[in-house]
Amino acid sequence: MTEVQQYCTFFINKIHFGIDIKQVQEVIWSPEITPIPLAPVHICGLINLRGKIVTIIDLQCRLGMGQSLSPSTSHPELDEEFLAHNIIVQTKDEIAGLLVEDIGDMLEFTSDRFESPPATLAGKMRKLLRGAYSLSQGFLMILDIEKVLKV
């Protein structure tokens, strides 16, 4: 039977990514991020989400796609002009934010169109990618949130 899957999509470096919408709690504008000294480079910092302290992960950096999006990791003084999106995701035991460049549409696919990542894919991406759907233009890469958060 073919099930319909819904994905929250976003862009990093113009590449189209998606995550299971069931794991997305909300999408917010980047509020003030408190940097964490000595933290791993892919951690942007912490935000206060209505009284909850949420760790923000720089997804670009986490995926090994080059330099960080967030100025906070390179310059602790946060650039006031900088605005990115945070996708607040929730797994069974934690809540975290993913810093992304731009938010795309919510997309629906039937599960039979799902394709495994190519065997030749290398690097961090290979470990964190669940698979992909082909779009009319390019692919939508589906991330495994549990693995992205597991550091």
């Binding site: 408190t34 964490i36 000595l38 602790p76 003084e77």
Partner: protein
């Protein structure tokens, strides 16, 4: 009869007993008519057993005997697997009622009342014994049945005095006349009276609450505290007297609410302690010792999260006391001590913390032996061992991988040492100290915070970053005028030191340690927060100090587990986040590490002129560019040679495969900044030979077989982790007294020594590892 004072314990006992009785009753009713379900029987047996066990601690002999008789009957029922017939069911129900009435009596008057239960007990016994012949049983049973209501009336109706009860005892059969109830309708009548009884049941005044719910309430109170902080801050900026007054009220109510909620989460330490007599008994038997446990202050209360956190450390210390402290009866008697060893646990509140002392009257710890062992393990050098005080020597038992046990027994030596106890306590901001007298015993002193969730903390600025420093780790605050600071802050080696009342206080600049890329504001004053990390003091230099306020500790996400400098985060009054500093973690990041290592460094420095008579085996080698260096043989596991081709690069670091493990390599010439090695070999001085002890001759081959292979000194960080120091050339092994000849001139060197008339740099392994593989050191610690 002596009256019991109805205190919390009695109340708790009553609550629990009523609850158990209700359960028993329900199960009996369910069981009646059905064949005996052993699971159900076990349940009521246990419930009754609990009541009996509990009243064993209280002066309630009558209750105990009734419960005991009931328990016996149930036990027989369980073993014989026969049907719970109505007679037995009712006799059990009567027992329930009798117990309930005694409880009501206890609750009302503080004693068991004058009623007598002998007949009921006899009935219970007969029901058990007479079960073989059924007809006979019913006959006996009926005789038995007649009595209980009499007893109940004696118990329940206070107006009837002891005389009547005595008569009841003497002539049971007559008594039904004094009671309105007919024996044949016992069950019904009783059930009506039953339901009237619990009107004054203490269970109305207490309820059991799910711990999760309590945690959620606590969390919400935390949020409220934060909102209060925000509100108070806001009110300060608005000059409105109404708002100010409202805020004050809000402030008070929140503080009270916080206090009350904290109280609801308090549990007495007895919840852990009550398990110890059993643990001690088992351990004592296993190790052939006799141990008596003595416990004081079991009602000392702690927040449940703290309690949970100290459970394992306490158990470990208790095990340690029995395994290593208390001697066998033979040794004890030969030393003129009582055969039975004593283990004492003592807890009390002091200054907002809980102190716990665990002491034994056993062997004690010999500081000399500890020092020797530490030298053997390479934790201390002879010079250092000379210098440290007794208290510092005792602290050695908390060093990672340290054990004085000659052999691994099933009581100790399972790889979990006192270091784990210490780190576990540190995670909740607790401390542990040891005091011991050889032959007299050992005492562990613990200091534990009452609660973890909401703590007072100092808010400090470094640049525009704000941090919360828990008050528990702050010793004092020192403020220096800038001009004064220039004079008073000295440099000791490379580290800045402030003389605080004559004591050297190493300074840690928060912005440097945390690598905050901020320009320090040109301030007129220097703020030093004197921090006590694990009994070691250092001064944390911050730019600005705000007030101390209550903060709500929120844990950091899993991704930040390895950032040891922070214990969590909190939301401040303005809604922004501040990281909470972990004193010990920060000290580690800053390289001041543990108390011991720092004191050793100072001990080494002050011992410059000292010579010790001890001859030490020292390995001499060229670290790079011909620099002559030395390392104590006690710190060395093996000397090896590797083919350079065998070196692989993992994560930019060289490693080799060695004895089924991966051995990380440290090229000393890189540490000491000579990148030209090994391309240009420096001229090698002739090999000097000192006295090589025969047992060290295994190393000769390596020394003699100098070639183009990599010369590697394998050192052990702990039992599982080793690493290899790649040196230019291994020179020799000498046995000489190690004399300190001068200060180290660079990082990674402990001091200079004159060996065979030549200046030799003695390596500081710890620092070298820290430079090359800081992560490895962290993982060893954790």
């Amino acid at each position: 009869m002596e009256s019991l004072e109805i205190d919390d314990d009695i109340k708790a006992f009553l609550d629990e007993s009523y609850e158990n009785l209700n359960q028993i009753e329900q199960v009996i009713l369910e069981l009646e008519g059905n064949s005996a379900n052993s699971e159900h029987l076990t349940r009521i047996y246990r419930a009754l057993h609990t009541i009996k066990g509990n009243c064993g601690f209280l002066p309630l002999p009558k209750l105990e005997s009734v419960a005991h008789a009931g328990e016996n009957l149930l036990d027989q029922l369980r073993e014989q697997h026969f049907t719970l017939n109505p007679q037995i069911a009712s006799i059990l129900l009567q027992t329930v009622d009798a117990i309930r009435q005694i409880l009501a009596q206890v609750e009302a008057t503080g004693n068991e009342g004058d009623g007598d239960c002998a007949a009921l007990i006899a009935a219970l016994q007969e029901a058990g014994v007479g079960r073989g012949g059924f007809g006979k049983e019913s006959g006996v049973g009926r005789g038995g049945f007649g009595n209980p209501p009499v007893q109940e009336s004696g118990v329940g109706e206070e107006s009837r005095g002891a005389e009547e009860a005595e008569r009841a005892e003497g002539a049971g059969e007559q008594q039904p006349t004094t009671n309105n109830r007919q024996p044949s309708t016992i069950n019904n009548q009783q059930s009506t009276t039953d339901y009237q009884l619990p009107t004054t049941n203490p269970s109305d005044s207490t309820i059991r609450v799910n711990v999760e719910l309590l945690d959620r309430v606590m969390n919400l109170v935390g949020e409220l505290v934060l909102a209060r902080n925000q509100m108070v801050r806001f009110a300060e900026t608005v000059a409105d007297s109404d708002l100010t007054a409202t805020c004050q009220r809000l402030n008070q109510v929140t503080a009270q609410l916080q206090e009350e909620v904290l109280k609801t989460r308090m549990q007495s330490i007895a919840t852990i302690w009550q398990k110890f007599p059993r643990v001690v008994r088992d351990l004592a038997i296993a190790s052939g010792k006799q141990v008596q446990v003595e416990m004081n202050g079991a009602d000392t209360e702690l927040d449940r999260t703290v309690l949970e956190a100290i459970k394992d450390p306490l158990t470990h210390i208790v095990r340690n006391c029995i395994a290593h402290g208390i001697e066998t009866p033979e040794i004890r008697s030969s030393r003129g001590k009582p055969i039975q060893g004593k283990l004492a646990l003592h807890a009390w509140h002091e200054g907002g913390t809980v102190k716990i002392e665990i002491s034994d009257d056993g062997n004690g710890i010999d500081p000399l032996q500890l020092k020797q062992q530490a030298q053997k393990l390479g934790i201390l050098s002879a010079v250092e061992a000379e210098k440290i005080t007794e208290a510092e020597a005792f602290n050695l038992i908390f060093a990672s991988g340290f054990s004085t046990a000659a052999q691994v027994t099933n009581l100790s030596g399972r790889g979990v040492g006192m270091d784990v106890v210490k780190t576990n306590l540190e995670t909740i901001d607790g401390t542990v100290e040891v005091d011991s007298q050889v032959g007299q015993g050992t005492k562990f002193k613990l200091k534990i915070p009452l609660t973890l969730a909401i703590i007072p903390a100092l808010v400090a600025y470094s640049g525009n970053h704000r941090f919360a420093i828990p008050q528990a780790s702050i010793q004092e605050l020192v403020q220096l005028e800038k001009e004064v600071s220039l004079l008073e802050i000295e440099t000791f080696y490379d580290i800045p030191i402030y003389r605080l009342r004559g004591k050297l206080l190493p300074l840690v600049y928060l912005n440097q340690t945390l690598q905050l890329q901020v320009v320090r504001a040109d301030v007129d004053t220097i703020n030093i927060v004197v921090i006590n990390a694990d009994n070691y003091y250092f001064g944390l230099v911050v730019d600005q100090i705000q007030d101390i306020q209550d903060i709500v500790v929120k844990p950091l996400g899993k991704q930040l587990r390895d950032v040891s400098a922070f214990a969590g985060a909190t939301i401040l009054g303005d809604g922004k986040i501040a990281l909470i500093i972990d004193a010990v973690g920060l000290a580690n990041c800053a390289g001041v590490t543990s108390q011991l290592q720092q004191q050793l460094a100072i001990a080494t420095a002050t011992a410059l002129e000292e010579r010790t008579g001890d001859r030490q085996s020292i390995l001499l080698f060229h670290g790079g560019s011909g620099a002559r260096m030395g390392l104590l043989m006690s710190q060395i596991f093996r000397l090896e040679e590797f083919d350079p081709i065998a070196v692989e690069i993992v994560a930019d670091r060289p490693v080799v495969q060695y004895r089924n493990t991966i051995l990380p390599l440290i090229y000393l010439h890189q540490i000491f900044g000579n990148s030209d090695f090994p391309e240009s070999r420096t001229p090698q001085p002739p090999l000097t030979r000192g006295a090589i002890s025969p047992q060290l001759s295994w190393a000769r081959e390596v020394i003699n077989g100098q070639n183009d292979r990599l010369q590697v000194i394998v050192v052990e960080l702990d039992r599982e982790r080793s690493l290899g120091l790649v040196v230019e050339r291994i020179l020799d092994i000498v046995e000489e007294p190690l004399a300190i000849a001068g200060h180290a001139t660079r990082s990674g060197i402990l001091y200079l020594a004159a060996i065979q008339g030549q200046v030799t740099e003695i390596l500081d392994l710890h620092t070298i590892v820290q430079i090359a593989y800081p992560y490895l050191l962290q993982s060893v610690k954790s």
